[in-house]
């Protein structure tokens, strides 16, 4: 059953691999030009009104970006190009898992043959292992390729950010599985999923609710600032992701088809 699920997601997975590959090569290739690019940006930012500069944040980070290869890689790759796209990849990979089979009526083929529990966990195992592979390969390939390209970058922070990203992925994955089980067509869960991905950082703009925004955690901000994993947030991500998945499993067990 695992291989059937992998076969179902293989093309999407391949597209993500190609896309991430292009983005990674692009990120590394742009490294020598970052100083030039940031010079322009810094000047432009200085000319901006005060409230806009507040939104832009700490300008010293821009200087660090210019001088620190490691910081450049973590912030621009795990923190930006890969990190920010990760929830979208999860959404596109996970949402069709159940609702597409229900919408297309192919689920009957499985339901008649296997216990629901087996169907559910096989789909979960296949899709999570697929997206986890994508994440691990590209998280660790980035410092390796930077070193090959002649820059000096260690692996330690990459690994720490990776741990946070795996847990953040687990959180998004759990929610998307829940949506996929709840709905009977593909459009509604995709729209709800996009809304979820966009709403969390927007809600996080409110000072009291800044913790709702999981992107600083997903992008490894705490690792870069403190040099360690944010364990409290990690625990929260793990529990909430597991809760969504558990609820989805119960719903799937009880659902009428």
């Amino acid at each position: 059953m695992y291989s059937k699920e992998i076969l179902d997601i293989r093309w999407r997975l391949l597209v993500f691999f190609i896309l991430f590959g292009i983005l990674l090569v692009g990120t590394i290739a742009l490294r020598p030009f970052v100083g030039e690019l940031l010079g322009i940006s810094s000047r432009e930012i200085d000319e901006l009104p005060e409230f806009v500069r507040k939104i832009v944040g700490d300008l010293s980070a821009l200087n660090r970006l210019e001088t620190d290869d490691e910081y450049y890689l973590y912030s621009q790759w795990q923190g930006k190009n890969m990190g920010q796209f990760l929830p979208i990849c999860a959404l596109l990979l996970v949402i069709p898992l159940f609702c597409r089979e229900e919408e297309k009526k192919t689920l009957y083929f499985l339901l008649a043959r296997f216990p629901r529990r087996k169907i559910f966990w096989s789909k979960i195992a296949a899709s999570f292992s697929a997206i986890l592979s994508l994440l691990v390969i590209f998280a660790l390939a980035a410092p390796a390729m930077m070193n090959l390209a002649g820059f000096s970058v260690g692996f330690q922070n990459s690994f720490l950010i990776l741990v946070q990203q795996v847990l953040a992925l687990w959180f998004f994955f759990g929610f998307f599985v829940f949506l996929s089980v709840v709905f009977r067509d593909q459009l509604k869960p995709i729209l709800w999923g996009i809304l979820f991905v966009l709403a969390l950082p927007m809600a996080g703009l409110l000072p009291r609710f800044s913790w709702i925004n999981p992107y600083p955690y997903l992008c490894g901000v705490s690792v870069l600032n403190t040099g360690g994993i944010d364990w409290a947030y990690s625990f929260g991500m793990m529990i909430i992701g597991a809760a969504f998945l558990g609820i989805a499993a119960i719903l799937f067990e009880k659902k009428e088809f």
Binding site: M1, S3, K4, L7, D8, K104, K105, T106, Y108, F109, L111, A112, R113, F114, P115, K254, E256, F257
Partner: protein
């Protein structure tokens, strides 16, 4: 009290009401013995597919369904199902279908599936999304017939097939029973049922209105045709089913007294019902109770 037979498929007081209040199945009690072809007949919305879904555990329901005395989850390894909408994984080819199905299901015979694909002349390298309705039906049936299981549940198994393929499929279904399997299937095509079903049941508005064999039906029931005027002089006995068409009244009955009395009358015409007549009268007729 429900039936307490242990072998075969048993529906015991099965009820299903959907959230919108529609009573799809209302107290269905029915035993389908092992080793036969049993046909579910009924108009659209009679509860045939819902009954199958209940039996397969796809929906929640009241009452019980047991397979050889066991719940469906304990017997899933012995069941194969062909749904009403034969939609398979459209992005697969048959080569991929064979590869995946043989990994997916231990009961699946690769050799037999290849033979069925050849038999139905299905293209191996074409994506399933390019298949016609008949080809999709042939594919689903090929997979079902290539899977070793004691019970075959087929929801309109001949939909979309041309008359030649339909004949072939009916022959294959018949052969399943010779091999000791039990087939439960639904159909709208009465001559098909007449041809291959050992037993059949008619559902209407979620309730069972008849269950038995064709021979029993022909032995027990008679159809009488009266003129409107003649029927006006009759007093309809209990249990008859009556339809009025233009100036004629057709009466279906198993009331022995009525059959005996009307057989002696020259003013009415008597005949043994065909399954089609029986079905039409049962569904369309007004029942005197």
């Amino acid at each position: 009290m429900g039936i307490h037979l242990e072998k075969g498929l048993l529906f015991d007081r099965v009820k299903k009401t959907y959230r919108n209040g529609v009573k799809a199945v209302d107290g269905l009690t029915l035993n389908i013995p092992k080793g036969c072809v049993h046909a579910f007949l009924g108009p659209n919305g009679a509860g045939k597919t819902t009954s199958l879904k209940a039996a397969l555990g796809f929906i929640s329901y009241g009452g019980t369904v047991s397979w050889d005395g066991k719940p469906v989850e304990a017997m899933r390894h012995d069941i194969v199902f062909v749904p009403e909408e034969k939609r398979f994984y459209e992005h697969w080819t048959l080569v991929e279908t064979l590869r995946i199905c043989s990994k997916l299901d231990k009961r699946f015979s690769l050799q037999r599936a290849r033979e069925y694909f050849d038999f139905f002349e299905l293209p191996m390298k074409k994506r399933i999304r390019g298949f016609s309705l008949g080809m999709k039906t042939s594919l689903y049936l090929s997979l079902a017939f290539s899977t070793e299981a004691g019970f075959l549940i087929l929801d309109e198994p001949t939909s979309g097939l041309d008359p030649i393929k339909r004949d072939d499929v009916l022959e294959i279904i018949r052969r399943q029973v010779i091999d000791g399997k039990t087939v439960l299937y639904t159909s709208h095509i009465i001559p098909e049922v007449e041809r291959i079903a050992d037993t059949f049941s008619i559902l209407q508005h979620g309730t069972l209105v008849y269950n038995g064999t064709l021979d029993e039906l022909k032995e027990r029931f008679r159809v009488f045709t009266f003129s409107m005027e003649e029927w006006g002089r009759e007093e309809a006995p209990k249990g008859v089913i009556v339809t009025e068409q233009r100036d004629q009244v057709t009466v279906l009955t198993d009331n022995e007294q009525a059959i005996s009395a009307w057989n002696k009358k020259k003013e009415c015409f008597s005949e043994i019902p065909t399954l089609d007549t029986f079905f039409q009268l049962t569904i369309r007729g007004k029942r005197y109770v």
